[in-house]
């Protein structure tokens, strides 16, 4: 992407997003004096001290949200830089430009000579692996799932598909798609810092998702039905001996989805370049 492309609406959106992020991050750093207010983990401990939906994950995102954000960024930047170094397609240095670029031919396998087991079961396995990856990220609020694991599992599905089917891989992720996945995931993760900042003053803080709590001053109360459907979409009822209690995983599921897309983009991009090489063509795998 060149600077010229950032003119117009895209440039305005980029500038506004950067302004919000910088303002939020820096002002939350300024407020770091004193004790950090406890968030959702306190609710978990108070209300569901025996069994809480993934108490550990809620702690991680309460106290290490920014840390995980930076780790996510490291993975993406690392993948993109590795690709640029490996591919030499976009790094426009003078000396290498004069050299002849080494062209790597993509893998091409003859599927008709495959063993029967691979021929008929590989594709269902790839699809079920993708489904399993998505299940892992969706289970984040209640079990040991998460975005990183999901990204790695789906990358494995991509690798399996390419190894078995070669150029005719049915799970065909293209260069632009992978870069877009990674950028979307990272962007989603960053933007999920905003609810925490608006609620607590701390960036990337995991908060409950009662979207209507800040509009109580509006004329007319928000109907209960509306509050239930759109207020706390991830709330779970915990039926304990003491009675029914409610707990919410806050914005944790959305953060994990962002993380998953980021990892899919980053790791698949590295696989992509190792397998097909990197050229300036748009299609990548299907060239």
């Amino acid at each position: 992407m060149e600077i010229k492309e950032l003119r117009g609406v895209r440039g305005v959106i980029a500038a506004v997003a950067l302004l919000i992020i910088f303002f939020g991050v820096f002002s939350s750093f300024l407020q770091l004096e004193g004790n950090v207010a406890r968030g959702i983990s306190e609710e978990y401990n108070k209300l569901a001290y025996r069994m809480a939906p993934n108490n550990l994950a809620s702690w991680v995102y309460d106290y290490r949200g920014v840390d995980t954000l930076l780790e996510t960024g490291v993975i993406y930047v690392g993948a993109v830089v590795s690709v640029l170094v490996l591919g030499r397609g976009l790094v426009r240095l003078k000396a290498p430009e004069e050299d002849e670029i080494v062209k790597v031919s993509g893998m091409d396998l003859r599927t008709e000579t495959m063993p029967v087991l691979l021929k008929y079961f590989a594709l269902p396995v790839v699809i079920l692996l993708i489904a399993y990856g998505l299940l892992v990220v969706l289970e984040a609020p209640t079990s040991g799932g998460g975005g990183f694991q999901c990204g790695v599992i789906i990358s494995s599905a991509y690798l399996l598909s390419v190894i078995i089917y070669g150029k005719k891989s049915p799970f065909n992720l293209k260069k632009k798609t992978l870069v877009a996945f990674g950028a979307f995931g990272w962007g989603l993760y960053v933007l999920m810092g905003l609810p925490g900042y608006l609620t607590t003053g701390y960036w990337q803080y995991n908060v409950g998702a009662d979207l209507w709590s800040w509009v109580t001053s509006f004329p007319g109360a928000v109907p209960d039905a509306l509050r239930t459907i759109f207020g706390e979409p991830f709330k779970l009822a915990l039926q304990l001996e003491e009675g029914v209690y409610y707990a919410t995983s806050g914005i944790l599921p959305i953060i994990n989805i962002g993380e998953a897309f980021n990892v899919i983009g980053a790791i698949c991009l590295i696989f992509f370049v190792f397998i097909y090489g990197w050229t300036d063509s748009e299609d990548g795998a299907s060239e």
């Binding site: 699809i127 799970f171 239930t228």
Partner: protein
């Protein structure tokens, strides 16, 4: 047997999973035959039975039928989403 969940969290993630499945399903270029589609659906049902509904889920819409028999509806909805996404791709919509 509770049919509707006490809180929406039991259903939301299955819906989110369906849409995520569509997103990744559009990246599948395969032309699936009826037999393969059926095989995938049956395997996904078996997997959903093995994975079970998460703890804290109580309603049928969350996948819990009795105390010891439950299905991971998220897995099924993701698989169906992948197949629907693949259909979109084949139809040329995306």
């Amino acid at each position: 047997m509770m049919i509707f969940p006490l809180a929406l969290g039991e259903v939301t993630l299955a819906v989110v999973g369906f849409f995520l499945g569509i997103v990744l399903g559009t990246q599948l270029q395969a032309q699936l035959s009826r037999q393969t589609t059926l095989l995938i659906l049956i395997m996904s049902m078996v997997a959903a039975f093995l994975f079970e509904a998460p703890i804290h889920y109580n309603s049928v819409l969350g996948g819990v039928f009795t105390e010891h028999v439950s299905l991971s509806f998220k897995f099924i909805s993701v698989t169906v989403g992948l197949l629907v996404g693949n259909l979109f791709r084949r139809a040329g919509g995306i």
